[in-house]
Amino acid sequence: MSLYYVQKYLYELNRSPSVQSDYRADPIAAVEVFAGDGELKLTTEERSALTDPDIGKLYHLGVNGQILMHFAAFHGIEWADYLERMRDGIRTHGPVREGVYALTTEL
């Protein structure tokens, strides 16, 4: 339940080559350096969504699409596939939990 920190990590990743290379080398360790131990900043669910990576889960959690689309591109995910993964996230996990990037059409 810490969407702010999920987005903060992705914001830093999107704009910083050094954060990107740390993530590429070891995503789990990189996210832990950012968030520390425990669930104060990132829950277990959020950590694995970031490290898997699970684009659909991140969308469901409410990550702003302007941040998420660059994370998808960083992982080499093509545009049409990115859109489909978000839909899959809604199918699997339910509606977007918070924020203004909710789905407005039918699945």
């Binding site: 903060k8 914001y11 302007q66 660059h70 809604i90 203004v100 990037y101 407005t104 059409t105």
Partner: protein, 272 residues
């Protein structure tokens, strides 16, 4: 000297990044409209270009989010996105720190604006510049209105900001051009990407061209969100240009919904 140019255009990253996926006729017509906007801008012989954009977490985040921000540097770099994704190569755009400082000082007399001595351009500025100043020869003053991370400054404050920019432009000896970039209705970077409310867009642009303050401020974020999507929050940039145009009437030169670009692609100018 004064404001010599005021216009608006779209900035969606797909316009360059997904150009190969669009209907070629529509894409080429849009690119021709951008070229026409370029020619109009050049004909106004500006000394500097203020770009009012709505950035997307390139420089500003919810740890310290300004409602209004302006760049104050001698150069800016971009794009922050992967150049292969945006299909715009890395560039350095000229700024003018001294001119920015004088304009910001004047704006501050009525509007609290943050200033930034470094600023990475994202597609919100890089896509318009790619067409309007492709050789990066014109000094740019980047401006941001927060349209991404609510709470957002209400529309009448975006209007007041536009008025302040006009007063500031009129207070300096340089010839100032201003371009707003954004929206109009769209649902970018969601699974609804490609949804466009053409009727809403045309009604909005009719109002934009008439440039009547009360008509343009007769929107609110709840109805904008329902009718024009979260991307519609970017009308703030268009409204700021309307206010800067100080009652001048406008012309929409181009409008075409291009779903793969995720927006009704638009160019328009005011007859100052």
């Amino acid at each position: 000297m004064s404001l010599v140019f005021a216009g608006v255009c779209s900035h969606a990253p797909g316009i360059t990044g997904r150009s190969d996926l669009a209907d070629p006729d529509k894409r080429d017509a849009l690119y021709a409209a951008f070229d026409d906007l370029h020619d109009r801008l050049e004909a106004s012989r500006p000394d500097a270009l203020i770009v009012i954009a709505a950035e997307h977490f390139a420089n500003f985040f919810m740890n310290n989010m300004p409602s209004f921000a302006m760049g104050m540097a001698d150069h800016y770099e971009g794009p922050i996105e992967d150049p292969d994704w945006l299909k715009i190569p890395k560039f350095t755009a000229p700024g003018n720190r001294d001119l920015s400082g004088r304009i910001i000082t004047e704006v501050m007399k009525t509007v609290d604006v943050s200033y930034a001595e470094e600023w990475l351009f994202d597609h919100g500025i890089a896509v318009p510049l790619n067409f309007l100043t492709p050789n990066f020869e014109l000094p740019v003053i980047p401006v941001n209105i927060n349209c991404q991370g609510p709470p957002l400054a209400p529309l009448h404050r975006a209007w007041a900001f536009g008025e302040a920019l006009r007063r500031a432009a009129d207070s300096v000896p340089e010839r100032i051009a201003i371009v707003g970039t954004g929206g109009i209705s769209h649902w970018p970077a969601t699974p609804d990407s490609g949804r466009i409310n053409e009727e809403w867009d045309r009604e909005f642009m009719d109002r934009w061209c008439r440039n009547d303050r009360s008509e343009l401020l007769d929107y609110d974020d709840l109805t904008v969100y329902a009718d024009a999507g979260q991307g519609g929050f970017e009308i703030r940039t268009f409204l700021a240009v309307s206010a800067a145009a100080a009652g001048a009437k406008g012309t929409m030169h181009f409008y075409e919904p291009i779903p793969i670009f995720a927006v009704g692609c638009t160019t328009a100018t005011y007859d100052l």
